[in-house]
């Protein structure tokens, strides 16, 4: 992440005030104050998101787009308002380009099935990277099995960055699709999309970006990026689970057949032929997660009000601190050491398995992730079965990171 110091006139975030926005942080776990350092798995929810959902169910709950009664109109307005807010959040050209889905996983599966499947065949290539989350690998693998297309993979270097020479080499094979993560959940590496996307577009690839780890940490402008599709999940960005978005260029979404059929996605249903609804509704079959969408809209508003630049500046400070103090822990090796990273530190410790660390840290009230982080090929690339990962959000503190470092040192004593 290229993080500028807070701009003139912008004060740094008031961390204590931000922490007070998150009720869940006010608890002790196993007798210690909770230090929640598993934000890449899912982030915590600010009070106003929780309240927006609560308000919807208490006052406005109704099905959308079909009732003429007052509640239905309110629910529809709130749902569509959320869509508009989110479209502005990623600078989409229009709210029509934003489809509400369950999350990143469903969004990528939609692109693979409705956009790519009808177009691809034997001889075509789909290009992904070695650092992808399983949700940006498996849908493409399934697609390749179904169409006979070939899955190609750009490797990462020892520092966990994309191997740009190998990327260039792959482009000579003119892939039809290039699917790439904006920010790696396993290592924190921020991919240089401003370089990758124009290069991939120049050879005619459709570019699909997995933005699950980007939206909570850096400003996303889909028009400036120049990609074709951008997927993200609500729960990673202080919103609820079970809701996320696919942004796609209107001309692409218009050209795509529906993926799931049902209510809401149609204009007219006849047994000889039905007429599909307009985008984005064409891809929103069935009663959607209305409360989730409203909560996600609120989360995006919250991020915008805090200021994504101030969030990024705060996280850069936490990353710098974590990298420094964790490097000093005996026997600890950080995996993912590139210069552009989100606030994620993934590491291994000699002779101590990540799951033992996870349990010992839990005893100190520290929540981290131990495992393969849904990136098994990447773990294999680094010759480890699993890593321990601390992933920070703007509400984390340097004290929490110091507690982590101290607990890691103690873990060595327990298991020695």
């Amino acid at each position: 992440m290229s993080i500028a110091a807070p701009q003139g006139g912008h004060e740094a975030l008031d961390v204590n005030a931000v922490r007070r926005d998150f009720p869940v942080l006010e608890q002790t776990v196993r007798g210690k104050p909770l230090a929640y350092l598993d934000n890449a798995a899912t982030s915590q929810k600010p009070r106003r998101v929780i309240e927006a959902i609560d308000h919807y169910y208490r006052h406005d709950n109704a099905n959308i787009h079909r009732g003429v009664h007052t509640l239905s109109e309110r629910a529809t307005a709130a749902y569509e308002n959320a869509r508009e807010g989110l479209a502005r959040f990623i600078n989409a050209n229009s709210a029509k380009e934003l489809v509400f889905l369950r999350g990143t996983t469903e969004a990528i599966n939609l692109v693979a099935n409705a956009w790519a499947r009808p177009k691809l065949g034997r001889g075509d290539r789909v290009l992904i990277t070695e650092a992808e989350h399983h949700s940006n690998i498996v849908p493409w693998q399934l697609l390749c099995e179904q169409t006979g297309a070939e899955l190609r993979v750009v490797p990462v270097t020892d520092s966990g960055e994309l191997d740009l020479d190998a990327f260039e080499q792959e482009l000579t094979g003119e892939p039809a699709i290039f699917a790439v993560g904006h920010v790696s959940n396993a290592l924190g590496t921020v991919n240089p999309l401003e370089y990758l996307i124009p290069r991939a577009k120049a050879v005619g690839a459709t570019v699909v970006v997995d933005g699950a780890q980007a939206t909570p940490h850096l400003a996303v402008d889909v028009q400036a990026l120049g990609c074709d599709f951008y997927a993200f999940s609500g729960h990673k960005m202080f919103g609820p689970t079970g809701i996320g978005c696919l942004w796609g260029r209107a001309e692409h979404l218009d050209a795509m057949p529906p993926w799931q059929g049902g209510g809401e996605m149609i204009k007219v249903v006849r047994f000889d032929k039905s007429l599909w609804n307009d985008i984005p509704h064409k891809f929103e079959a069935g009663t959607p997660n209305i409360a989730g969408a409203i909560g996600l809209g609120e989360a995006a508003a919250y991020i915008s009000e805090l200021g994504i630049d101030r969030i990024a500046a705060r996280e850069a400070l936490l990353l710098e601190h974590a990298t420094r103090v964790l490097s000093e822990v005996p026997g600890l090796r950080i995996i993912g050491t590139g210069p552009h990273k989100a606030a994620v530190v993934s590491f291994v410790m000699t002779d101590i398995h990540p799951h033992d660390l996870g349990t010992i840290l839990d005893h100190e009230g520290i929540a981290i992730r131990a495992g393969h982080h849904c990136a098994m090929p990447l773990m294999e690339r680094f010759g480890v079965a699993a890593t321990t990962r601390a992933s920070m959000a703007m509400y984390n503190t340097t004290e929490e990171i110091d507690r982590l470092a101290a607990a890691l040192t103690r873990a060595r004593e327990v298991l020695a």
Binding site: H355, I360, A385, A386, L415
Partner: protein, 148 residues
């Protein structure tokens, strides 16, 4: 529940110096166990003769709980009748799964009971039972076909 009762000194010791950590060249049974959550992987070798476990060993990698559990298993079952393995497997289940009504027989389990602390960590129970499931599969399986 304190950490010392999970990472009991017996467990720490067996993790650091796993017993019977080797391959049995003339094993009659072999099974592989995998815990995808932790990435624990182990191979269990058994030399079974006339219903007796003449030798049992393992290879692999994993967390301290899974390594120690496998090591303790081999130490305990070497030279014992096959039927005892199945009995202990059930006893281990009682020891580790918190919803079991009956108390586990810790006298019978002996050192294996040092894994009791795992019960308080539901996400780690699979680590402790992996070697037992793998042994069960090996004992249920067919004899390896000799390549000689």
């Amino acid at each position: 529940m304190d950490l010392q009762s999970l990472y009991h000194e017996i467990i720490v010791d067996h993790n650091r110096r796993p017993r019977n950590f080797r391959r049995i060249e003339d094993a009659t049974r072999m099974s592989e166990g995998h815990n995808p959550l932790c990435g624990d992987k182990l191979k269990l070798y058994v030399l079974l003769e006339d219903g007796v476990i003449k030798d049992v060993s393992f290879e692999g990698s994993g967390c301290a709980i899974s390594m120690a559990s496998a090591s303790l298993l081999t130490e305990r079952l070497k030279g014992r009748p096959e039927a005892e393995a199945e009995e202990l497997f059930e006893e281990m289940h009682r020891l580790l799964t918190s919803d079991s009504e009956a108390e586990a027989d810790t006298d019978k389990l002996g050192k294996l009971a040092s894994l009791a602390g795992v019960r308080a960590y539901p996400s780690r129970v699979k680590c402790a039972t992996l070697s037992w499931h793998t042994l069960h599969a090996a004992l249920e399986g067919e004899d390896l076909i000799s390549t000689e």
